[in-house]
C-alpha cells in the first residue's frame, strides 16, 4: 500500500499543480509531494531489506532490491532538483508558465518512479516511453529557437527507438509463451523460465530492446541528443535527465540482460563490453574538446553509462554489484554536478568554459562546489565513483577481461584529465570578463549542500543498510 502511495504521489502533485487556484503554490506542492515519496521510499527499502520483496499490487507493482534502489534514487534526485528549481526557475524567461513547468515536471517524476515498480516488462516499455515524452516539452521549456531545436532532435532520436524496443518486448512475450508457462509474464517469472526459453528469440528480443532503449540511455552513436538537450534544457531538468532519466532505461536493459545471462547458450556479455567501451571512448575524447560546461557534464554521463554497461558485460557477481554501485554513485554525483553548473550559470550568466575564469574569487561557494563535484564525477579518491570504478576494474581482471580493463582504465584516465583541465581553467586565474557574480538563491544553495552530503559521505563510509541494499540489488542482476 505504501508503495502505491509513493508511486502515485507525483501524479497527484501534477494534478494539483494544474488546478487554477493552486497554481501559485505549485513549487511548494511539488517539493512536498516528492519529498514525501522519498520518505516512503526509505520506509519501503527498510521493508525490502527485511522481506526481500514488497508487493503493492500483486503481478503489477512489485519491487525487489534493485527496484527499490531505483525508486530511492529517483525520488531523491527529483526532490532535490525540485528544490533547486524554486530559485533557479525564477530567472526563467517563461515565469508566467511556471505552474505548467511544475505540472509537467511531476508527470516526469511519476513516469520515472513507476518504471522500477512495474512487474510486467510490457508496462516497463510504456513507462520508459512516458519518461521520454514528458521530458520533451521540458527540454524545450524556454521556447527559444535553439531550445526548441534541441527538444526536436531529442524527440525524434529517442522516439525512433520506441517501436524497435516495442517489437523487442513482443518477441520476449512470444519466447515466454513458447515455454508453455501458465503464470503471468513478470520479471520474476521470466527469470525463472529463462533457461527454458529459446536462446535465439531471447537474443533477438534483447537486441531490439537494447537498440531501442539505447537511444534513450545515450550509448554512442545515438548519444548526440544528450549534449544538445543538456545545454538547452533548464538546469534542474538536466539534473534529472542526466542523473536518473538515463539510468532508468538502463535499469530495464540490465534486467533483461540478467535474463539472457541466465540462459546458458546466449553469450552476449562480450558485445556489451565492446559497446560500453565504445561509448566511454567517444565520450572521453569529446570531453577533451568541449567548450560548454553543461555539455561537458552531458558527455560525462555518456562515459558513465558506458562504464556501467561494460561492468554488466563482465557478467560476474562482483561486477554486477560494482555496476549497481556505479549507478547509485553516478546518480547522486551527476545531479550535484548539474546543480553546481546551475549556480555557476546564475552567478555569471554564461555557459562557455572559456568565459568562466577565477570562479573561486568571484563566488567562493560556486567555486568550492565545482571543485568538489568535478573531482567526484571524474573519479578522484576518496569519492564514491572512485570506489565503484575501482571495483569494476578489479572485477574485470578477476573474470579474465584483461584487455577490456586496460582500455577502460586508459579511457577513464583520459576523461579524468579532460574534466580536470577544463575545470582548472574555470576555477583559478584572474577573472577576465566578470568583475562581480550575481547572488545565488537560497533554495539553490540548499540543494547543492544537501546533494553534496551523500557524495562526500559514501566515499569514506557506506552505512550498513545501504550496503545490504546494494548487495540485494546486485543479486537480481545475477552473474556467475
Amino acid at each position: 500500500m505504501i508503495l502505491i502511495i509513493a508511486i502515485f504521489l507525483p501524479l497527484i502533485a501534477a494534478v494539483l499543480c494544474w488546478l487554477k487556484p493552486l497554481r501559485s503554490i505549485a513549487w511548494g506542492t511539488t517539493v512536498f509531494c516528492l519529498s514525501t515519496s522519498f520518505a516512503l521510499a526509505v520506509v519501503i527499502s527498510g521493508q525490502v531489506l527485511v522481506k526481500g520483496r514488497v508487493i503493492g499490487l500483486a503481478r503489477w507493482f512489485e519491487v525487489d532490491g534493485l527496484g527499490v534502489l531505483m525508486i530511492l534514487l529517483v525520488s531523491f534526485v527529483c526532490t532535490l532538483a525540485a528544490v533547486f528549481a524554486g530559485g533557479y526557475m525564477r530567472h526563467s524567461s517563461q515565469r508566467e508558465r511556471l505552474w505548467w513547468f511544475y505540472c509537467n515536471y511531476n508527470l516526469l517524476a511519476f513516469a520515472l518512479i513507476i518504471v522500477p515498480a512495474f512487474a510486467d516488462p510490457n508496462l516497463v516499455w510504456v513507462g520508459v516511453e512516458l519518461i521520454t515524452l514528458f521530458a520533451i516539452l521540458l527540454v524545450g521549456f524556454e521556447s527559444t529557437p535553439i531550445a526548441l531545436e534541441a527538444a526536436w532532435k531529442y524527440a525524434i532520436l529517442t522516439l525512433m527507438g520506441a517501436p524497435i524496443s516495442l517489437l523487442g518486448f513482443f518477441v520476449l512475450y512470444w519466447a515466454y509463451r513458447g515455454t508453455g508457462s501458465g503464470t503471468a509474464e513478470t520479471w520474476q517469472s521470466l527469470q525463472a523460465m529463462a533457461p527454458a526459453m529459446s536462446p535465439n528469440l531471447l537474443k533477438l528480443s534483447f537486441l531490439l530492446v537494447f537498440v531501442g532503449f539505447g537511444t534513450k540511455i545515450g550509448f554512442a552513436p545515438t548519444h548526440t541528443w544528450l549534449p544538445d538537450a543538456h545545454s538547452q534544457a533548464p538546469t534542474p531538468i538536466c539534473a534529472v535527465l542526466s542523473g536518473i532519466k538515463t539510468s532508468v532505461p538502463l535499469y530495464a536493459v540490465l534486467r533483461l540482460l540478467s535474463i539472457i545471462l541466465a540462459s546458458p547458450e546466449a553469450r552476449i556479455g562480450r558485445w556489451m563490453v565492446i559497446i560500453g567501451l565504445f561509448s566511454v571512448g567517444i565520450a572521453a575524447f569529446l570531453l577533451l574538446q568541449v567548450r560548454d560546461y553543461k555539455r561537458m557534464f552531458a558527455y560525462s554521463t555518456v562515459e558513465h553509462m558506458g562504464i556501467i554497461l561494460t561492468a554488466a558485460g563482465f557478467a560476474t557477481q562482483a561486477s554486477a554489484s560494482a555496476a549497481v554501485a556505479q549507478m547509485l554513485n553516478h546518480s547522486i554525483t551527476k545531479s550535484l554536478c548539474f546543480y553546481t553548473a546551475g549556480i555557476v550559470l546564475l552567478a555569471l550568466g554564461t555557459r562557455q568554459i572559456k568565459d568562466v575564469r577565477g570562479l573561486f574569487r568571484l563566488s567562493p561557494f560556486a567555486g568550492a562546489a565545482l571543485l568538489l563535484c568535478a573531482l567526484a564525477i571524474a573519479g578522484a579518491p576518496p569519492f564514491p565513483i572512485f570506489l565503484s570504478e575501482f571495483s569494476i576494474l578489479s572485477a574485470g581482471i578477476r573474470s579474465g577481461h584483461n584487455t577490456a580493463v586496460a582500455i577502460l582504465a586508459i579511457l577513464i584516465v583520459v576523461a579524468f584529465v579532460a574534466i580536470m583541465r577544463q575545470v582548472n581553467g574555470m576555477l583559478f586565474g584572474e577573472p577576465e570578463l566578470h568583475t562581480t557574480a550575481e547572488a545565488v538563491p537560497l533554495s539553490c544553495r540548499t540543494a547543492v549542500l544537501v546533494a553534496a552530503v551523500p557524495v562526500v559521505v559514501l566515499g569514506v563510509f557506506i552505512p550498513a543498510p545501504i550496503h545490504s541494499l546494494l548487495q540485494l540489488a546486485a543479486q537480481q542482476l545475477g552473474g556467475r
Binding site: 516511453e129 525512433m160 513482443f170 509463451r177
Partner: protein, 228 residues
C-alpha cells in the same frame, strides 16, 4: 460449412498484410503532407482489420479488443489531435526537398522489405503458426520503412507519421507474437501512441510559431561543439 469459414478469415490475413505494406510504400511515395497522413490512417485501418480477421477465426476477444483500440487510437484520436493542435496550412505543404527522390526511395523501401523477410526467415521457419509467418516479416518491414521515411523526410509532420508508422509495424507483428497480451498493456501502449501525437503536435506548433518553419533542415544551430 463451419470448418471452411476458419481458413477463409485467416486466408484473408496475408491480403491485409499486403495492404499494410502497400500503405507503407504509399507513405514513402507521397509528397503532400495530407497524403502521408491519409496513408497512415489507411495503414492503421488494415492493421485493425488484420486483428479482427484473426480474432474472428480464433474467436479471441483479445484481438477484437486490440482492433477496436487501434481504430480508436490511430484512426480517430491521432488525426483529431493533430487537426486540433496544428494550424491548417501545415497540412497543405508539399515537400520539395527530400534526401532521395521518390523512385529511388521506393526502390530502397522495396529492398528494406526484402531484407526484413530474410532477417526473420530463420526464426519464422521454426514457427508452426501461419500468422507469425506473415505478420513478423511484414511488421519488421513496416518498422524499417518507417525509419527510412523518418530519416529521409524534412517536414515535421511526415517525420511524426514516420514514427507512428514504425509503431504500426511493431503492432502488426505484435498481433501474431503476443495475441493474448493483458489488455491493460495494450491499452497503455495505445494511450502512449496518442500521447506521442499530442506532445509532438504541441512541439511542432511551438516550433512553427517561433522559428516560422517546420523544416528540420532549417534547424542547424546546434552542432557538435560549435565554434565560439
Amino acid at each position: 460449412m463451419h470448418g471452411a469459414q476458419i481458413p477463409l478469415a485467416e486466408g484473408l490475413n496475408p491480403l491485409t498484410a499486403g495492404f499494410v505494406l502497400l500503405s507503407a510504400f504509399g507513405m514513402v511515395a507521397t509528397r503532400q503532407v495530407q497524403g502521408v497522413m491519409r496513408f497512415f490512417i489507411l495503414q492503421s485501418s488494415f492493421l485493425a482489420l488484420s486483428a479482427f480477421l484473426i480474432g474472428f477465426s480464433r474467436s479471441s476477444i483479445h484481438l477484437w479488443a486490440l482492433g477496436a483500440i487501434t481504430i480508436a487510437a490511430k484512426v480517430i484520436a491521432i488525426p483529431w489531435v493533430l487537426k486540433r493542435t496544428l494550424p491548417g496550412d501545415l497540412y497543405e505543404r508539399r515537400e520539395i526537398d527530400q534526401a532521395l527522390n521518390i523512385p529511388s526511395s521506393l526502390l530502397l523501401a522495396l529492398l528494406l522489405a526484402i531484407a526484413a523477410e530474410f532477417l526473420v526467415a530463420p526464426l519464422v521457419a521454426a514457427s508452426a503458426d501461419a500468422v507469425v509467418r506473415v505478420n513478423l516479416p511484414i511488421g519488421l518491414a513496416g518498422i524499417l520503412i518507417g525509419a527510412y521515411s523518418l530519416i529521409a523526410r524534412r517536414e515535421a509532420l511526415p517525420q511524426l507519421v514516420g514514427i507512428l508508422a514504425m509503431e504500426n509495424g511493431a503492432f502488426f507483428a505484435g498481433i501474431a507474437l503476443a495475441p493474448d497480451l493483458p489488455l491493460i498493456s495494450e491499452l497503455a501502449v495505445a494511450i502512449d501512441v496518442v500521447l506521442i501525437a499530442v506532445v509532438i503536435g504541441v512541439l511542432t506548433r511551438d516550433i512553427n510559431r517561433t522559428i516560422g518553419t517546420t523544416e528540420a533542415a532549417a534547424m542547424t544551430e546546434l552542432k557538435e561543439e560549435p565554434q565560439p
